[in-house]
Subunit: 385 residues, 2 copies
């Protein structure tokens, strides 16, 4: 598939060379990281190296990093009643933004009746006044807001949210899965209490992630209990190879971050200028700060499922939104929360780029789109005539 | 560490060549297995291939296999109130054997007050009369018994247990993590309802496992919710590389199983004959059927922690029992359940072998042990004089 153009980086980032090397090296360690012999200590060394790299990438202490099997598990671990900041009260309810990843919307270990939803603007940004209203009066809440949305790329006002949540005696979790490696941020600077990241969004292997905890936070209760791994916060023999790859990918992503951002932003401008040549093109969240690499767009009458298949046949991998719901053809809950009707929401196509994306990829994509949109939109018009 | 002798296969089996190749190949797939484009379909293909291989290895249908991040997660997923066999009642309590892995002893999603423990004989075999007593009278129970013990290697009467449990309207989970690849078994033949396996015990990567469900079983409720992966039984982007490695390792382990078993049994005989040269040597569970590769032994006055370090310095990786409790120096709960006092339990050293173990490794181990036991037991005697 070497001639293919890959524009689905928000689903999975291609493996970085650094991650491939680290994963392969760690894969061959026979030791269990909990064993005391030399083989065990060697496995432990790789894990602790990766822990430092991930901690540095998000601006935290290594001991704050709990490795998990991915973002979904980290979110499930984070969303737990009983969480408490230093000197604060235990949270009893959950407030999530309406545009969260589905693994957050499920609410972890909170009962469905104790979960409230924060609305977003038409540009996909969390409504902080609504958050204030929801916090007022009730018992202490855990609030979960993503740092950047996986579908639109919209960056959320997390720092302001942290101040509001803490003022109300609450705890703030952010899902930074889509933001890591695409924009600079610092957990302490943002003032958040828990933060989720995932390896395969920064060029590491799939099936590894981490929950990072702020200093002084009590909880969450472990989701997996048994052995004493991860300071008894997450039991189970560690995915040594995956964790090593995560560490290497996170370090590499941080190294190339500012230069990569500027270059990709230029490519996106070129891409979006091209897309706008089609009459009626709508680029979601383009009036607010977005991740530099993400374009979610539609044209009246477009069906995303058909467009994704058309792009695929033209040799270009794109997405119709979140890739996490295998086989489901449902309108995006993100666009519905932004106030778009189901018909528009079902027409949204996501193009997302990364470090190896080149001018030529954008050209190929636009060329394919010109041909595809001509055919698809014509056939759409016929079908609805 | 190429001159080292690795006799800690029950902690982690060295990576099989087949698993290394499959993991490396799958690691480079950029696609997310939930994406519909060619890259996504390719990732999906690797996962489904591995699912078939794991299903074949345990005697189940591919659709019965739920991939997890390891044995601990599979056990946590399995131990859920509400499980029900076709036409049966939902289980309300949990009965576990006293020699289970610690991830089972924690009881998953059962409250601590609804968990009972089945005693074992001095040879480490589950007492089926005690199981019958525990089942009698109470509400329907989930019973969890391991197929083979990770410390002693003792094989449990799982088939008989299944008949007893089903007669009482219960559900049987078996933890087959330590048995897979070491002895032949068939899930349907054993008649069990849920079965846990792990990749790194059969030469696959660490951090991958599976829960296998029998046909007609209802539940368990997912532990990780979000995307629709694994037929909505376990959300989260799949560890494609790890799963591919698991599939390849499981297939390779099955291919060489009977030949490997016979060869290793001969090596163990040689090993145990050598160990018994030391006066007072006790080999645990040697009066019952054991895994062919496992020897747990002690000598009066031995301290396992010191022995493990001594072996390590002599270039030999061995274990003092379960490696899953990082940093914990506690007497084995398995040996305590078998009726041995804490002093004996703290002296137990586990030697476990695998397909690449050679005559020379056994010779090196016995040579190291002769020198080590002379020094250690002398110093023990001095210390306690």
């Amino acid at each position: 598939m070497s001639d293919r153009v890959y524009l689905d980086w928000n689903a999975t980032t291609p493996l970085r060379d650094e991650a491939r090397r680290a994963t392969a090296a760690a894969l061959d360690l026979p030791g269990n990281a909990s064993s005391v012999h030399a083989e065990g200590r060697e496995a432990r060394k790789w894990i602790e190296g990766a822990r430092s790299a991930v901690a540095t990438a998000v601006g935290a202490q290594p001991r704050s990093v709990v490795f998990t099997s991915g973002g979904t598990e980290a979110n499930a671990l984070a969303l737990a009643p009983g969480l408490r900041r230093d000197g604060g009260s235990a949270v009893e309810r959950l407030i999530v933004s309406a545009v969260e990843h589905v693994s957050v919307l499920f609410g972890g270990r909170f009962s469905q009746t104790s979960i409230a939803s924060i609305g977003v603007t038409r540009a996909g940004v969390v409504d902080l006044d609504h958050l204030r209203d929801l916090l007022r009066g009730g018992p202490p809440a855990l609030v979960s807001i993503m740092l950047a949305n996986n579908e639109t790329g919209a960056i959320q006002p997390v720092e302001e949210a942290a101040a509001i949540v803490h003022e109300a005696g609450g705890v703030l979790h952010i899902d930074a899965v889509q933001a890591l490696g695409k924009i600079s941020f610092d957990m302490r600077g943002l003032g958040v209490d828990l933060l989720t990241v995932s390896a395969h969004k920064v060029g590491g292997p799939k099936g590894v992630g981490a929950l990072v905890l702020s200093e002084g936070l009590s909880g969450p209760e472990p989701l997996l209990r048994g052995g004493g791994q991860e300071l008894s916060r997450r039991a189970g023999t560690e995915n040594v190879a995956g964790i090593a790859g995560f560490g290497a990918a996170a370090a590499a992503a941080m190294d190339c971050l500012p230069a990569s951002t500027a270059r990709i932003q230029t490519l996106r401008k070129q891409l979006e200028n091209g897309l706008r040549q089609t009459r009626g093109t709508l680029i979601f969240s383009d009036s607010v700060q977005r991740l530099p690499n993400t374009t979610l767009f539609t044209v009246p009458g477009l069906r995303a499922e058909t467009a994704v298949i058309g792009f695929d046949l033209a040799g270009i991998a794109v997405s119709s939104g979140s890739a996490c719901s295998s086989g489901k053809v449902q309108p995006s809950h993100v666009l519905q929360a932004m106030g778009f009707d189901a018909e528009i929401a079902q027409g949204a196509v996501r193009l997302s780029m990364g470090w190896s994306t080149q001018d030529a990829d954008i050209d190929s994509c636009l060329e394919a789109w010109r041909s595809l949109s001509g055919r698809l939109l014509k056939s759409q018009r016929r079908n609805t005539a």
